[in-house]
């Protein structure tokens, strides 16, 4: 039998607000444990939550970027469950009236557009952070749990996809595209390794062609795109093997074990009704009026998929467009400014993603500290176009500009890199070389074309590489009469 995997992805995005979701404790990654906590985020009796307006702005921006509708009215609910990192024994979350509903995200998989539906995006608070200590830090062998509540109450947006994903590669591509959107919006640090964006996958299998969904398993703890892809791949195979050998998939949460490359059962998942959701009585309802939605919509930046499309229509081939679109914002800005100053789009994109990026890496310079303007890059490309500097000398010019030696033309001058295209100057050097190499000239006259390279080399040496090689080539042929 052929099986089809059906995958939905839940993404948790920690917002990078200054303060927490329901209290004014500072949001701060890496602070000393339990130093950013107060009665509200510790769940002490009597403490009252007050929602952070900025967090609502951010979730609306995320929703709009994912083509969602923003609900006109929304409320918070309590999700009740017991876990040591949840001090109130409930999480303030949303249930049947989330802030954002019904959107989609387009991604590109193997050159084809793949659309993933977004069921909802809702606002909630993060839990504390537990560290399991004991045998090697592994959760199954832990002997006790250390708790840090600095993260408790950090605003968290949960984005739930529809089960439109059918392979590990699609899962990865969706996750990467979503991270790109969130990073572009600037509402989160969106760092997988720090857990500020986290991906859980709901995976089930069914016989191909069936409409009914199989029992789903939730897989957690993937902290890179690679491990997400591996975990999804592993879990699909595990379920197929299980069912084909007569077993039954049970609804549960499984933990991805990066080292072993397998998933382990973590706990039997509680059904939705077990969470006993009810409307949070400490918070009043929210109304997201047209004016608020419009204000947020007006702040949305250009998103990665839109940018890619714009680069393609500017004439960049797919790979170059993708590389540039994924580049740091200062590099993209440099490209935009250079094109604005009249540079050819492809040449500018090639230099920005090639030589400029390589220079930054070589010199361990942050891209925002690169000391070159768009008009300087355009000027450099014009020098190459006009034949004033050779493509290889242009790299030296770039180095000079980036080191603050001046504009490209000044650097080319001061570093003595101007290509000699003046035919009188080249004629003189060619004549000298021909005179000192009569044997080679004789061979060339007799049709031995391979000595041409030698003679061109001699001229280039005499001019320290500054002569225009094509001009030298033509001049020699003309003088020797071998052309």
């Amino acid at each position: 039998m052929t099986w089809e995997a059906v995958i939905g992805i839940e993404v948790h995005v920690e917002l990078s607000t200054e303060s927490k979701m329901f209290c004014s404790c500072e949001v701060s990654f890496g602070a000393e444990p339990n130093t950013k906590v107060c009665p509200t985020c510790l769940g002490l009796p009597g403490a009252l939550p007050v929602p952070n307006e900025k967090a609502l702005d951010s979730i609306m921006a995320i929703g709009l970027a994912l083509n969602c509708k923003v609900a006109p009215n929304s409320v918070f609910h309590r999700k009740n469950y017991f876990y040591a990192d949840l001090p109130k024994n409930y999480q303030i979350s949303q249930f049947d009236v989330p802030v954002c509903l019904d959107g989609y995200l387009d991604t590109t998989v193997d050159g084809e557009t793949h659309r993933v539906g977004i069921e909802r995006a809702h606002m909630e608070e993060d839990t504390g952070k537990s560290t399991h200590v004991g045998e090697g830090g592994r959760i199954h062998a832990a002997s006790s749990t250390l708790l840090d509540f600095n993260r408790s109450g950090v605003p968290l947006v949960e984005i739930v996809s529809r089960p439109d994903i059918h392979s590990a590669a699609q899962a990865r591509s969706y996750a990467q595209a979503l991270r790109g959107v969130v990073a572009e919006l600037g509402v989160s640090d969106a760092r997988l390794e720090e857990g500020s964006i986290r991906f859980d996958a709901n995976i089930s299998i069914r016989p191909e062609g069936d409409d009914e969904l199989g029992t789903k398993v939730e897989v957690k703890n993937m902290n890179s795109f690679r491990s997400l892809e591996q975990a999804v791949d592993y879990e699909i195979k595990r379920q197929i093997d299980l069912v084909e050998s007569g077993g039954t998939v049970i609804q549960e949460t499984r933990h991805w074990d990066e080292e072993a490359g397998v998933t382990h059962s973590m706990r039997t998942k509680e059904g939705s009704s077990d969470y006993r959701y009810f409307a949070e009585p400490d918070l009043v309802p929210m109304e997201m009026g047209r004016e608020w939605v419009d204000r947020i919509a007006a702040t949305l930046p250009e998103l990665p998929e839109q940018r890619l499309e714009r680069y393609r229509s500017a004439g960049l081939e797919d790979t170059l467009a993708a590389v540039l679109s994924g580049a740091d914002s200062p590099l993209r800005g440099l490209y935009e400014d250079a094109v604005e100053s009249g540079a050819d789009a492809r040449a500018a994109a090639n230099w920005v993603t090639g030589e400029v990026t390589a220079w930054a890496r070589r010199n361990e310079t942050e891209t925002q500290d690169l000391a070159i303007s768009g008009s300087q890059l355009a000027g450099l490309l014009a020098l190459i176009d006009d034949g004033k500097v050779s493509a290889s000398a242009a790299k030296d010019v770039l180095d000079g500009v980036l080191l603050g030696e001046g504009d490209p033309a000044e650097v080319a001058e001061s570093r003595d890199l101007i290509q000699i295209s003046d035919s009188a100057a080249i004629d003189a050097v060619v004549d000298e070389v021909l005179q000192t190499n009569p044997d080679a000239v004789e061979s060339l006259r007799n049709g031995e074309d391979k000595v041409l390279g030698f003679l061109v080399g001699q001229v280039m040496r005499a001019t320290r590489g500054k002569a225009d090689p094509q001009l030298v080539n033509a001049t020699i042929r003309e003088r020797v009469g071998s052309g």
Binding site: C25, N52, K54, N80, H132, H140, A142, F149, V284, M286
Partner: protein, 95 residues
């Protein structure tokens, strides 16, 4: 109108270890509450007020401004067990 209650399940969700006698006791008490709720639900028509949010207020937010947090030493002094600035709890997974 008696309401069916899986009291053992409810106790498990609340992480309460109850004896048979206690289970029976709470099943009866919770039953009375749920029967009352069922009677309320039989009423026809929509309630005239929002029963979950009766204040009639919306959009009570705060500005995103960070403030002071608690003193850690004082905080941790309230906990039964701490280590290196952390609260210590029993292992997170159930057997």
């Amino acid at each position: 109108m008696p309401v069916e209650i899986d009291i053992a399940h409810v106790a498990r969700l609340a992480r309460l270890g109850l004896s048979e006698q206690e289970l029976d006791h709470y099943r009866r008490q919770l039953g009375v509450i749920l029967e009352h709720a069922a009677r309320v639900q039989e009423l026809e028509g929509e309630p005239s007020v929002d029963v979950t949010h009766p204040l009639g207020m919306v959009n009570a937010f705060r500005e995103d401004l960070p403030g002071d947090s608690l003193d850690r030493d004082e905080l941790l002094a309230q906990a039964p067990e701490t280590r290196d600035g952390y609260f210590v709890a029993p292992p997170a997974l159930e057997g």
